[in-house]
């Protein structure tokens, strides 16, 4: 169970969002600059809300009342960034194993099976600059999933893909979400994408929840 109830004062507006979710895909829909990425940054710990409460399964990672603010590395969250943020100086395999090594896990069998599942095993020796946008997207997903996160955050992961690749990835996404059974928060500004991939929806505008289909 994920519980998010946060408030953060931003430069031009106040961000205010509340939701609960459990092993489903929650889509946060909104135009550019509406505060969508800030929501993910607050949940992952990259930014701190001014007030509020965030619980990921059994652990309270942020609680302004009790002054709890867990560091990013302890939140066990998978985050696929908008431009993927693959480490350019590491190979595909190096990128995927980074989290596993950070957490001191020696068994890399799960990473190998993830690479096979996502069809990127043959790319393991290549660098991010040597693979296509769709392949980068899969590598970023594999890297985020390699640490077996409790929550997966996807920040407009399909925005830089061409239409053909997008359709293929959408189908894969639907397939994987059923296999992985974890809570996923997907950010997008495209209504069709939200409708196709999401189980529940929150629409935000200038930081405020204007409409929810929870």
């Amino acid at each position: 169970m994920i519980h998010v109830d946060i408030y953060k004062k931003l430069k031009y507006y106040d961000l205010n969002i509340t939701f609960e979710m459990n092993n489903e895909v929650l889509v946060i829909l909104g135009p550019s600059g509406s505060g969508k990425t800030t929501v993910l940054d607050c949940i992952s710990g990259i930014k701190s809300p001014d007030e509020g409460y965030i619980r990921i399964n059994d652990s309270i990672v942020f609680d302004s009342y009790n002054k709890v603010d867990s560091p990013v590395r302890n939140r066990n969250i998978g985050y696929v960034f908008q431009e993927y943020a693959l480490f350019p100086h590491m190979t595909v395999k190096g990128n995927i194993l980074f989290g596993v090594k950070s957490k001191g896990i020696t068994d890399t069998g799960y990473c190998e099976s993830l690479m096979k599942m996502l069809g990127i095993k043959h790319l393991e020796a290549r660098y991010p600059s040597q693979i296509s946008g769709g392949e980068k997207q899969r590598v970023a997903l594999a890297r985020a999933m390699a640490v077996k996160p409790d929550l997966l955050l996807l920040d407009e992961p399909f925005s830089s893909l061409d239409n053909e690749t997008k359709q293929k990835i959408y189908n894969e996404f639907i397939e994987f979400k059923n296999i992985w059974e974890i809570s996923i928060i997907l950010i997008t500004h495209q209504a069709e994408e939200a409708e196709l991939l999401g189980d529940r929806f929150i629409q935000i505008k200038e930081g405020a929840q204007v409409c929810s289909f929870l």
Partner: protein, 220 residues
């Protein structure tokens, strides 16, 4: 012997560069990551040797490390060693004048690293030490290597401060710039010409090689 100034210069410049590399990265990291009282003032002190005549830097060093200097006196009394007029003093002078270049290069290299990569590493469970060594530093490497090349070249060409604290003792502290100056002064233009060619060839190769390396890095 003509080889002596070349060997001394390489030893002095290498020592100074290793020293400035360690201090430069540490200071750049400190100044880019943390805010503390007196930060701006301390930064001025680091960069100051770039803006003042090397003879002033040399004089300040002499006040500090001379046998009657603040630090030099303590070292002499504790160990019976005098730093001035040794290759160590020449290295120290070269390090102080080349540190601003190293510091500036490292600082801009660290500032240019996209924070998204560092945040991605944190979400993958990396602690701050691992983020720095595995992500920040490798991504800042081209800028740091530029700093190494610039600092080494500056250390190799150091004259004023070196003359003040290390003098020109042939075979001991006589670096290439000092040897050229004293060769010209004594009318030995043959030695001066050879040393000039050595320095020019070395500096040209270094800068050309660095530019090629950086260009190749951008293309891959």
């Amino acid at each position: 012997m003509i080889l002596d100034p070349i060997l001394i210069s390489i030893k002095v410049a290498l020592t100074a560069t290793i020293f400035t590399l360690i201090i430069g990265i540490l200071l750049a990291r400190l100044f880019t990551k943390y805010n503390f009282r007196g930060k701006d003032l301390l930064e001025v002190f680091i960069i100051l040797p770039m803006a003042i005549p090397p003879s002033i830097t040399g004089y300040a060093l002499l006040v500090l490390i001379g046998r009657r200097g603040l630090i030099g006196k303590a070292i002499y009394e504790a160990f019976g060693i005098s730093i001035v007029f040794t290759w160590v003093a020449a290295s120290l002078a070269a390090a102080v004048v080349s540190l601003p270049l190293m510091y500036q290069s490292c600082k801009s290299a660290l500032l240019n690293v996209d924070h998204t990569y560092e945040n991605a590493a944190r979400t993958l469970g990396a602690d701050e030490k691992r983020v720095f060594w595995k992500v920040t530093l490798p991504l800042a490497l081209p800028g740091i290597i530029s700093g190494i090349a610039l600092s080494f070249s500056r250390a190799l060409g150091e004259f004023g401060a070196t003359l003040m604290v290390a003098g020109n003792i042939p075979g001991k502290t006589g670096t290439i710039p000092l040897a050229i100056y004293f060769a010209v002064e004594s009318g030995d233009t043959a030695t001066a010409n050879i040393l000039v060619i050595v320095v020019l060839s070395f500096s040209f190769t270094l800068i050309y090689g660095l530019n090629r390396w950086l260009k190749n890095g951008q293309n891959t």
